[in-house]
Symmetry: C2
Subunit: 213 residues, 2 copies
């Protein structure tokens, strides 16, 4: 009944099929929704049958949990990668201005590249909303992302000696909410993602930085 933690887990082959199933699930969730994607369809897209699925997951919700966990890891590592790339030359331009650019850059880099993936995450949030067993898992991932992102922002702010007019966690939530809203609107309209999204987010961030007046 329980996908045991110890014995079953690690086998290269097994792990590979898990990943393929997870990938297929993310794709399908974005296209048809969590409830609109049958286990059968997920398997079909991954190139397996339901036998493989139930050998690896106890249920669709269990798979959802794993999708969430993996997303959390991917998000954090994408963010770290983006940070690593930032050149470290000190203030040739205004420090705050650079901070904003970099922060938005890192934020955007950590977001899913394909809008279907973002939709998939929206689906999973809503699914977690109505599925008590998933709430905790969703919140854990969210907290992980949220905490490390906002503490990162705090650090950067401190470095240039700037402050925010609202808590950094709220600013992070705000960026996420606006990003989500913008992308879903563009999808609904059939447009591509607005090119000036980075500047819009920068303007938002800027509005909450209290520095000079």
């Amino acid at each position: 009944m329980n996908t045991t933690p110890e014995t079953v887990r690690r086998s290269p082959r097994r792990e590979a099929t898990r990943q393929r199933l997870l990938d297929a699930a993310v794709e399908l969730f974005g296209e048809r929704g969590v409830l609109g994607s049958s286990v059968e369809e997920i398997c079909e897209r991954a190139g397996f049958t339901r036998g493989a699925f139930y050998s690896n997951f106890d249920s669709k919700d269990e798979l959802c949990l794993d999708v969430l966990r993996r997303k959390g890891e991917q998000y954090l590592s994408a963010m770290q990668a983006a940070i690593a790339v930032i050149p470290d030359e000190p203030g040739t331009t205004d420090g705050t201005e650079r901070l904003i650019r970099d922060a938005v850059g890192v934020f955007l880099e950590a977001q899913p590249k394909k809008s279907a993936e973002l939709v998939s995450m929206m689906e999973l949030r809503l699914h977690a909303l109505r599925t008590p067993e998933l709430r905790e898992g969703w919140l854990a991932v969210h907290e992980g992302i949220s905490k490390s992102t906002s503490s990162l922002l705090d650090l950067a702010l401190e470095r240039v000696g700037a402050r925010l007019s609202v808590p950094s966690s709220q600013v992070i939530e705000l960026l996420g909410a606006v990003y989500e809203n913008t992308v879903s609107l563009s999808v609904l309209r059939g447009e591509s993602r607005p090119a000036d999204l980075a500047e819009q987010l920068a303007a938002l961030l800027d509005a909450f930085i209290v520095g000079d007046c």
Copy 2:
């Protein structure tokens, strides 16, 4: 095949069952999602059987469209009602400050009172995202709400001689996104809606008003 526009429509009885079905659908969509709510369940909650449903709607998607349209109307009339209540005494306090308070008040008043209703709308947006036939309808309702809300904000701003650092439509989108994000987080956490939401939104709005410095 087609729920005809002319002949079938108006009968008090018929209209009443339509409304009850729409109400039941909104409730269920909030609880179980659009795809998670069967036509049967909707009817059951409304106190009918599927016969009534298919006599009134061609399909679940058709009902979704009507839910959206009705939501749009409800939103607009709730907003108008909220506006009507605002006392019209001129500036005993700072005009901008009052403007912010009133604007947030009107905005909040137009939002659904029960969080399940908000979730229901999020569900419908996602459902529209993956259902081409619904996109247009969703966008129409959204545009209606968005346009009238932001032009209202523009009017109010003009009256007190204030300006925004970003287009008013963006500010409206932002308020909506933040509201949605906040409420869904609180639901996920099992908390009640944060009491200081109005102040948070006011702070946001404030941050985008350029006036004095």
